[in-house]
Symmetry: C2
Subunit: 341 residues, 2 copies
């Protein structure tokens, strides 16, 4: 039988000690870490970048098919992805959790195993947090801190007419992963049949264990590229593209045949009679980077297989246009996820 230690046996400070006992700092910018009123960070002449996200059980994740270790990992990833989306490097996180008494110390250990795994992989220090009780479910709040050389950060409002619109990796996979997990959950609830996810490792992994595109930011630095605008794709490509257009006061043209889709994603979409293009446009949670570059940087991007040039920026008056494989023009519409609807 699995061991179960009640959290109340440790108390708040005992629990914090337990969860942070192997926590080692990796960044010279971390001056004071866990264990005081606040952490102290010295970015030594660099600018500090801050972002935060709140993840709520039943809204953002379903523990029925989300292993706690993956959840811990993803909680870090979704935040540091926003730091990379500023062309910055994440350096620290603080993480707060609220838990009901259904969680044991062992369950939290699993969650933190994922948190630390992400911190190690991305060279980020866990420097603080808060641990408390919830009335219902598991609530996770992560704030990520990063650094950037002065004025090298990239906002959403700098896209210029004729810039190329680019995206890293492939799109729609996480949404398809969610679709299969929700389908298998329903089957399990109705029939008790164990889910068969054997052949869907790619799309399920895209949802449950996403990665942040550290390598993209490193590629930019190596090749002396500063995108004119950038954001990470959490709500869906079309939604994010419209944000960039609105904040940059420009329009855009995107091409269906340029959208990057993974073969496994396409195959599974067809199996479910879903339009792969719709999945790529509106499926969220891929945590790829959407960015615009000056045409002068075209070659630097084009020679990297990990990037797709999916369109270009136009005058605002030309609107936001999506051109299908057949050559039809449609207005680009956001149908991404809205947690408040």
């Amino acid at each position: 039988m699995q061991e179960r230690t009640e959290i109340s046996t440790l108390g708040e400070f005992g629990l914090i000690d337990h969860l942070t006992k192997n926590n080692e700092t990796k960044n010279s910018s971390t001056i004071v870490s866990v264990g005081d009123d606040a952490a102290v960070i010295d970015h030594y002449g660099r600018q500090t970048v801050v972002t935060t996200d709140l993840l709520v059980e039943g809204i953002h994740f379903d523990l029925m098919y989300t292993p706690l270790k993956h959840l811990g990992y993803k909680s870090v990833i979704v935040n540091i992805s926003d730091i990379y989306a500023m062309n910055a490097t994440p350096t620290q996180i603080v993480i707060s959790i609220a838990i009901s008494n259904k969680f044991s110390v062992e369950a939290l250990d699993e969650f933190y195993e994922g948190v630390y795994a992400a911190c190690n992989r991305y060279n980020v220090d866990l420097v603080g947090g808060d641990t408390t009780t919830s009335q219902k479910g598991f609530i996770i709040s992560v704030t990520a801190i990063g650094e950037v050389a002065p004025d090298k950060y990239v906002k959403r409002d700098g896209a210029k007419v004729n810039d190329l619109v680019c995206v890293s990796g492939d799109l729609g996979g996480a949404f398809l992963g969610l679709t299969i997990l929700e389908r298998e959950k329903k089957i399990f609830e109705e029939t008790g049949a164990q889910p068969d996810l054997e052949n869907q490792a790619y799309i399920v992994g895209r949802l449950l264990k996403p990665e942040a595109r550290k390598d993209v930011i490193e590629y930019f630095a190596e090749h002396n590229i500063v995108p004119t605008s950038m954001m990470d794709i959490s709500d869906g490509l079309s939604s994010e593209m419209l944000h960039i257009c609105k904040q940059s006061n420009v329009g855009c043209v995107l091409y269906e045949d340029k959208l990057p889709l993974n073969e496994d994603s396409k195959e599974f979409a067809y199996k479910l009679e879903l339009d792969p293009t719709a999945c790529a446009l509106s499926g969220g949670e891929d945590y790829e980077l959407l960015f615009t570059i000056n045409q002068a940087d075209h070659e630097k991007i084009d020679k990297n297989n990990g990037f797709s040039i999916i369109g270009y920026i136009t005058e605002a008056a030309n609107g936001k246009t999506f051109i299908t494989r057949g050559g039809n023009k449609h207005p680009l519409i956001a149908q991404g996820w809205n947690p408040l609807k």
Copy 2:
């Protein structure tokens, strides 16, 4: 009748626009504020201080007697209090909320009115956050960022033998405020009688609308004092004192007759047959500062009426001692609030 606008009519981004439409930045360190993947901060050669807190309805606050505006104010205060406790100056916050659909836009406006009031009073910029749905109740996560001249921050681990133990303001008020509100809530639930809080403005105010001790940090700077250790009193004096002793590896002696109590607090404690000393030792949420100073700074502290010298630091081997008015010695024990028990 009060207006009620459903949050779903605005959607996530509409709601964010609505809540931040009058948000103006006050600090030159705020380079990029709300509206991008992350905020950008430049502390220009200073160190960055970060702290976070999670507040959960039903655990940390009761909306039956907590006005939303006060809750917004307090959510900011409890966080920036931790920044002051590092001898630092708060400069930015990010705030995330999860809400059930019982909340209207007007209710959130009230909450944010309090958030902005605190930001204005303490010269702090709201630079980001997240807004989402909860399964139950109102959940608030605030991360506060501050700045401090390099190496001027004050931790909990620097208390030295013979240092004086000092505290700002008075203690126990917030706990007594909570006691009366809980009592009146019970009476209301049982009899329908409206609460009578007329004469308890001080203690109720201590709970519902605490302030952070900005003035104390400013006094330290003016008088060239750097405490040897410091923390804010959120869980109760004895609990915090034990943290300082543990982290500094020292003991202490505290005197009952030196504990600062407000007259209203004492009077109300007697009325409820509570021991005012116990309220001062174990009552949390006063957000006063507990700090230790070198004896050489004695006069600088002594001449300020806002401070009380309540004891001194000893060798660790001498233990943690509390001396009563009658001269009896007791071990100092933490009976503060534990959200996980």
